[in-house]
Amino acid sequence: MADKTGPLIRIEGLSKLYQMGGETLKALNDVSLTVNYGDFVAIIGPSGSGKSTLMNVIGCLDSASSGNYWLDGEEISKLRENKLADIRNRKIGFIFQGFNLLPKLTAIENVELPLIYRGVHARERRERAIEALRKVGLEERIHHKPSELSGGQQQRVAIARALAGNPPMLLADEPTGALDTKTSKEVMGLIRELNELGHTIVLITHDLEISRQAKRVVRIQDGRLSEEGRPA
């Protein structure tokens, strides 16, 4: 993945407008951003800064009002819903703040889910799910339901789910927001490890401490981006 040329994400002049009680709110105002393969970018900003909107647009969960967005070489700002679902499935692995695992499914079933929607056959699906769970160190607990796992373990299952489809980008939205300090450190360690293995990571957070672990920090304020540069 890291050996591909060109950027993974290229966003140019992207805006997102909301109509609120007759007033137009610019959640994103002419934003441009480029992320290369193998990079580890933290997007940091306070609440209401447009951080979540940016994450939704990058994650193809929402479309922009204007501007262009290329992901892995594909222009996706004009795509329809079904095509976006396909892009989400193949190109993006989501890691959410609240884990967002399906409570009735076991760990391995949760991890298999993106592969089911991709149409991967049962046996291969299982192998890849076990492989992903092994990467996050949970191969012992594959038949446990989320309610039988600790918060850190649940987040690791979620990371395994994001990894299972082998997407070019992992998109983490406050991945440590629901965890205590110790497990936060473990999870961030795991994310850094994954970056070292070549996964491109985009991390959305409001926590400076967390953002320092990234290779590159981008600050968002009032719908505008400003580069903080790479910490040494």
């Binding site: 079904n82 967002n100 889910l113």
Partner: protein
């Protein structure tokens, strides 16, 4: 996502909520149970009535001669001549009387039928032993008798009746044959009967002429033509007095029966339709609740790549499995209920695979129709809205 995977997921979610699923299915279960049980009982009743009508003989016409005084009564010869009408396979003129029949010390009161050799075939009797009446017995006024199976055992409890003598109203008749048992029909027992030659019966009961003629038509589609020919011949004989005779067509009775059952089936179908509709609305209601409850799940699935179609199929399969399961339970309970009713009410029941299949497919269809709206609602949820839902 393939169908098997979808069914597996649907079963999981249905079994995860057993009580609610059962209550949801109840409408369908009751509807299907009612259909299966009532149709089985209705078809059983139809079958037993049809069997009774058919036991009189197949393709049978009955001509009743009411006459106009003694002069216009049909003679045996005239009746037998009607047998030359095209399409008539067997024709048996008959007189029915009641008499006391004695053999030694045994005595019974039975119906005496005076007829000819065709009577056996027309009424679909079979001989157990000996022989039946023949034309020569009629020609020579032979005093011979053929006994019904029950009459034979009543009169001759121990020995073989053939070659023995019975006394009918004081006259000695020789027993030449015994009929096989046929069972009873709407018109009473078919086995308590004594048959003697028509000519001998006329002499014995001092009655002239034939009162009843049984006609068996060779082919079903000739029945109408034979009825017409019989009526025109009789009309000529009775000089246009149509009140002197009457031709009964057995297939008329059967078709009347058919139309009654048809009406019943339509009424039944209506009831079934209404109860399945109610069941379907129940399913739709619960599916809508389920979609709202699982908004977040839908959001997660969409975020990781489920398309609209995947979500639609997931919820459709769920409502189909729900209603199909209800259908299967209804079929099972319906069959059980019909069996129980047939045992308690001593009624015949008939289960047809067609009805079972239709009931099942119809309940699955209900799931599709009433699942469509909730499934579509789920599929149309926007992933960000769904993910934000708590």
């Amino acid at each position: 996502m393939n169908i098997a995977q979808g069914v597996k997921m649907a079963l999981k979610s249905i079994l995860g909520n057993k009580l609610r699923s059962l209550l949801t299915m109840l409408g369908i279960i009751i509807g299907v149970t009612a259909v299966i049980a009532l149709v089985a009982l209705g078809q059983g009743a139809t079958k037993s009535v049809t069997e009774q009508v058919q036991s009189l003989g197949t393709n049978l016409l009955t001509v009743n001669i009411l006459g106009r005084g003694s002069t216009s009564t049909l003679t045996e010869k005239e009746a037998t001549d009607l047998g030359s009408i095209e399409g008539v396979q067997y024709l048996a003129p008959a007189t029915n009387s009641n008499a006391t029949v004695k053999a030694g010390t045994e005595s019974v009161s039975v119906g005496i039928v005076g007829s000819n050799s065709d009577y056996l075939n027309v009424r679909e009797y079979e001989l157990a032993s000996g022989r039946f009446l023949s034309q020569i017995d009629l020609d020579f006024y032979q005093k011979i008798a053929v006994l019904g199976s029950e009459t034979a055992t009543d009169l001759f409890p121990l020995g073989n009746p053939i070659g023995q003598y019975v006394q009918i109203n004081g006259s000695r008749y020789k027993v030449v044959g015994v009929l096989a048992s046929k069972g009873s029909s709407t018109t009473g027992s078919n086995d308590e009967v004594v048959m003697i030659p028509l000519t001998s019966a006329e002499r014995l009961f001092k009655s002239k002429g034939v009162r009843t003629i049984y006609v068996q038509v060779a082919e079903k589609d000739q029945i109408d033509a034979v009825v017409a020919s019989l009526e025109s011949a009789l009309s000529k004989k009775f000089r246009g007095n149509t009140n002197s005779y009457r031709v009964f067509n057995q297939s008329d009775i059967l078709s009347t029966l058919d139309s009654v059952t048809g009406t019943l089936s339509v009424a039944l179908g209506g009831i079934a339709g209404i109860s399945l509709l109610v069941g379907g609305i129940g399913i739709m209601n619960i599916m809508l609740v389920s979609v709202t409850e699982r908004t977040r799940e839908i959001g997660i699935r969409k975020a990781i790549g489920a398309r609209r179609k995947d979500i639609l199929i997931q919820f459709l399969i769920e409502s189909m499995v729900l209603s199909g399961l209800g259908g299967v339970l209804g079929i099972g309970i319906g069959i059980g209920a019909a069996r129980l009713a047939s045992k308690m009410l001593k009624m015949q029941v008939v289960f047809s695979l067609d009805i079972v299949l239709i009931a099942f497919l119809f309940s699955v269809l209900i799931g599709v129709i009433f699942g469509m709206f909730p499934a579509n609602k789920a599929a149309k949820l926007k992933p960000i809205d769904a993910l934000r839902f708590e």
